[in-house]
Symmetry: C2
Subunit: 231 residues, 2 copies
Amino acid sequence: MPHPPVHSPTILCTVDVVLLTLTADGLQVALLVRDRAPHAGALALPGGFVRPTEDSGTRDAAARMLREKTGLHSPYLEQLATFSGPDRDPRGWSVSVVYYALVPPMAPDDGAPAAVEWHPVDRLPPLPFDHAEIVRQALARVRSKSQYSSLPVHLCGERFTLPQLKLVYEAVLGERVNQVSFRRRMDELGMLEPMVGETVGGAHRPAQVWRVKEAFRGELSLSERVLAGRD
Amino acid sequence: MPHPPVHSPTILCTVDVVLLTLTADGLQVALLVRDRAPHAGALALPGGFVRPTEDSGTRDAAARMLREKTGLHSPYLEQLATFSGPDRDPRGWSVSVVYYALVPPMAPDDGAPAAVEWHPVDRLPPLPFDHAEIVRQALARVRSKSQYSSLPVHLCGERFTLPQLKLVYEAVLGERVNQVSFRRRMDELGMLEPMVGETVGGAHRPAQVWRVKEAFRGELSLSERVLAGRD
DNA sequence: CTAATAGTGTCTATAAGACAGTATACT
DNA sequence: AGTATACTGTCTTATAGACACTATTAG
């Protein structure tokens, strides 16, 4: 049986994850202090080697990386792209399959190891490898997909109000969203259901609480049209 | 210096290419007869092992694969996704970074080795590995991107008429395109320039010949809106 | 002149945005 | 009652599609 070119130098096969959340300070990306060379001590994306004995695929490896390194489970985990080349990792020719994940903002000690540092995506520290470029592409993807899909709901908790969700879209897209159109679209998508009777709101008229319908949980709703048109 | 887990079984790192063209019989995908195990003799996507000593990245490997196996150079070559797992290749745990390419229909003996077989995408023979799924995803991507970008121009030759280009969009999208809207959009994109004086057309009014402007060649024009609305 | 395709002008339908109104809480 | 926010009704504007008209060629 013919075999791969064993005479060739080994290719390092890794997975990296761009884990994003949204706080009052905008989109944040999870960074970890690397505990080993190369770049020991530096802040970098969670990642590591694929383990053929454990992982059933790179997606599985990415989920494992999240679990082991951040203590998180993200229901939304999607492949971004694969980065490769002889120079991106000083250890040798490497291939990194990159995933991105979106999670709701966490309570301060919500099981996440203290090692996780959240950094605003527009004020990142210098990152090792090609991680800066990877984050840039992840952001572009998230912003692009948010135009015509329900992606941003993964940045909300399980229950949310439409004004809250609108703010999330605005934060991700970086521009104002038309209130009337936004509500029309969310209605047309048919993806949300009101928690009847449940409202939240402090000093003024309380807002209806919604959640994603069972059938739509875990996957995205795609729209033919732009979901969040400008105001 | 810490090293990758050398005790782990090797991960096979490969590249596959979904090469598409458009003929009167619709979208066609390039298949090659495999000359070695596994699946020797079967029709499969062009692909092979990444060669760290030769390739500067997986994109480069994909371009090499195209060149070596089909004799073609495709100006449009984009990463589709990466497929991985223990079972997709009988030789072991593998990662395949898949690219897709679009080329104009070729003259019968335009340098392509005889080994290249073009098959209509909607009537493919059984394919080995996970190549059927890969082709499916490539088609979905191409159709999706054609909605709002100039992608289909890569299926035309260097010069084309607007009626021809409209037919290409219709073939890719699988639905009729509104003539007036189509011309409006192509005009607004500002990507095409007329070859003044050049027209083609047989028995009736000849059509203006166009080409992609220098500045837009090699890259896509993206539109905020749907490029090819229904008729 | 006819036929057939290329290309345009313009009306209509649809969808998005603006804006102002009503609704409902807390003070 | 006042005020601030939630939500809605409706007018205006922008964009897409339908349709018919003109343009240009061959025969």
